[in-house]
């Protein structure tokens, strides 16, 4: 671990109702270093602070204390819009990730310019048709047949697959997966998870993934972090992580 972390959180704390009697600490002095190639699965019960952590990284929630560094650069006060150049995100709700009245191809085209200036140049959709066809055929559920369909008419699984492609079409430094398969049926969920793992490994992407599914947290990724009451309680990688099974999971976590 001599190389510089891609993302670093230093003593990050956030509150709700700050400076009132109802003040609650959501994130409690979080220190976290994410290195290139990390595929982190993030476990934690409701209210542990997982989503808050994602919001802090993506920039749509300001930190109250501490620093956020991206490749050594302080981005604590960089706006959400500016951070999209480096960070992409897939939401849990299939409705949030795509523009429903625009077609699959149009959505991909939008995502290709993530974080870049958009000018008065013509969008050039037709030139990219082959590329999009190839890209969508890497997904399991026939998305490549629906390139000209408005995404509002797609199934939840297709929409989440599209959201994932949109988050990776322009290589992000970090990709945040916020329970992106939770709204899908078990089979579709597993297919998308396989495709996710494949894409992240092949492209050597750096990813953080929230999941409530213990099996998924063990089967995918190469580093496992658990959060409790706003603090990191476990941070396992390598042999330590591989030693965890469904049977000893709870003992490791309790201890």
């Amino acid at each position: 671990m001599t190389n510089q972390p891609i993302l670093e959180l230093k003593h990050v704390s956030t509150y709700v109702n700050k400076n009132t009697p109802d003040q609650i600490k959501i994130l409690n002095d979080i220190n976290l270093s994410v290195y290139a190639g990390d595929f982190i699965t993030l476990l934690g019960s409701n209210g542990a602070g997982k989503s808050t952590l994602f919001n802090v990284i993506a920039g749509n929630l300001a930190v109250d204390e501490g620093q956020v560094l991206l490749k050594g650069k302080d981005i604590t006060h960089l706006s959400e819009e500016k951070r999209t150049k480096y960070i992409s995100r897939v939401f849990q709700d299939p409705k949030l990730g795509t523009a429903p009245r625009m077609t699959v191809a149009e959505n991909l085209l939008l995502a290709e310019k993530r974080g870049q200036r958009r000018g008065l140049r013509l969008r050039g959709l037709n030139k990219q048709a082959d590329k999009f066809e190839k890209l969508t055929s890497t997904m399991p559920n026939g998305l490549n047949q629906r390139l000209k369909t408005p995404t509002g008419n797609l199934s939840g699984g297709q929409r989440q697959a599209l959201s994932f492609l949109m988050a990776t079409i322009k290589r992000p430094d970090i990709i945040l997966l916020d329970e992106h398969t939770a709204a899908l049926d078990p089979k579709t969920s597993q297919e998308l998870m396989e495709a996710t793992q494949q894409r992240i490994t092949e492209d050597k992407l750096t990813a953080l993934m929230i999941t409530h599914h213990l099996e998924d947290a063990l089967n995918y990724g190469n580093r496992l972090i658990s959060l409790q009451n706003g603090s990191v309680t476990n941070d396992l990688r390598g042999a330590e992580r591989d030693a965890i099974t469904m049977d000893n999971l709870f003992t490791v976590f309790e201890g």
């Binding site: 819009e81 500016k82 999209t84 949030l96 990730g97 939008l110 310019k113 870049q116 008065l120």
Partner: protein, 306 residues
């Protein structure tokens, strides 16, 4: 025949209002009430400028710019001031009333005997009422072509995405506040332009000419959608203009049926309400099926209530 030509001409000029409103109401997906202020603002600016000796072309462009400024103010109140869009629009609309009175100095100005867009030798050589048809077509075509091109650019796509799914647009780095301001500016610019042209076609501007405008604009949009159904974005722009012309024909019929011009706002609201309820009525009564296939005697439903 004259009445029909006149209705088409008016429909085209009012069509600009529909297109302007379409940008906010349909693409950005919020109701912009500023419209009721910017339409008479365009008329006031244009007519006042012409009566002070400015050329009609410059006066019309000035009206467009004035509309853009009003739209920008609504946008800033909404995006920077965090005032809900409905309220921001109402504030600017109300303020516009005073501003329009200031600009005109009186509650109405006549253009009779003055130059206007319509007083050039080519338009005057045309048969009666064909002047507004010609001018209307000319301007509508320019506006639709420019808008259609714009919507196909990267910026235009970002604009559409902002209205379609703001959260996603933000997560792709689109400056959604800027997109909304831009939309409000162009929209209100077009609406002021429409006001300027209508004022020149009627030969007067009146401070009250904005009352009920939003309903007329919405009627064009909704009628276009009800009549033409599922369309692409470019086709929808044309459908709005067609909707505006159809709406003029409806008004013509209503006036023929014996209603007075004072009843027009009531009629407009009734027409719009009916169009808005049409999808519900259609499903409730199965009208769509009846219209397509004729009345069928329903088969006995075996699995009912089991």
């Amino acid at each position: 025949m004259n009445l029909i030509t006149s209705a088409i001409g008016q429909g085209l000029l009012w069509g600009l209002l529909g297109i302007g409103l379409f940008l906010t109401f349909r693409i950005l997906d919020f109701p912009d009430m500023t419209v009721e202020g910017t339409f008479p603002l365009g008329a006031a600016v244009c007519v006042t400028a012409i009566s002070h000796g400015m050329s009609p072309l410059l006066a019309t462009i000035l009206a467009f710019l004035a509309g853009m400024v009003a739209g920008l103010i609504t946008g800033l109140l909404y995006t920077k001031g965090r005032i809900p869009i409905l309220l921001a629009g109402i504030l600017v609309m109300t303020a516009c009333y005073s501003v329009n009175l200031r600009i005109m100095g009186t509650s109405n100005i006549s253009l009779l005997g003055k130059q206007s867009f319509f007083t050039n030798s080519f338009l005057e050589s045309l048969p009666k009422f064909f002047d507004s048809v010609t001018l209307g077509l000319f301007i509508i075509i320019i506006v639709i072509v420019l808008l259609a091109l714009f919507l196909q650019t990267e910026l235009g796509q970002a604009f559409i995405a902002t209205g379609d799914n703001e959260k996603m647009a933000k997560s792709l780095g689109i400056a959604t506040d800027q997109m909304k301001n831009m939309g409000l500016m162009v929209s209100n610019g077009l609406i002021a332009l429409s006001g300027a042209l209508i004022a020149q076609s009627n030969d007067y501007a009146d401070v009250n000419m904005g009352i009920g405008i939003i309903v007329i604009g919405l009627a064009s949009i909704i009628i276009g959608e009800v009549v033409f159904g599922e369309l692409t974005m470019n086709q929808r722009l044309v459908a709005v203009v067609c909707g505006s012309v159809i709406y003029r024909f409806v008004l013509l019929l209503v006036l023929k049926a014996g209603f007075g011009t004072n009843d027009l706002n009531l009629i407009s609201s009734v027409v719009l309400a009916l169009c808005l309820m049409l999808p519900t009525i259609r499903t409730k009564l199965g009208l769509g099926r009846v219209l397509r296939r004729g009345v069928e005697i329903p088969k006995k439903q075996v699995n009912d209530n089991d």
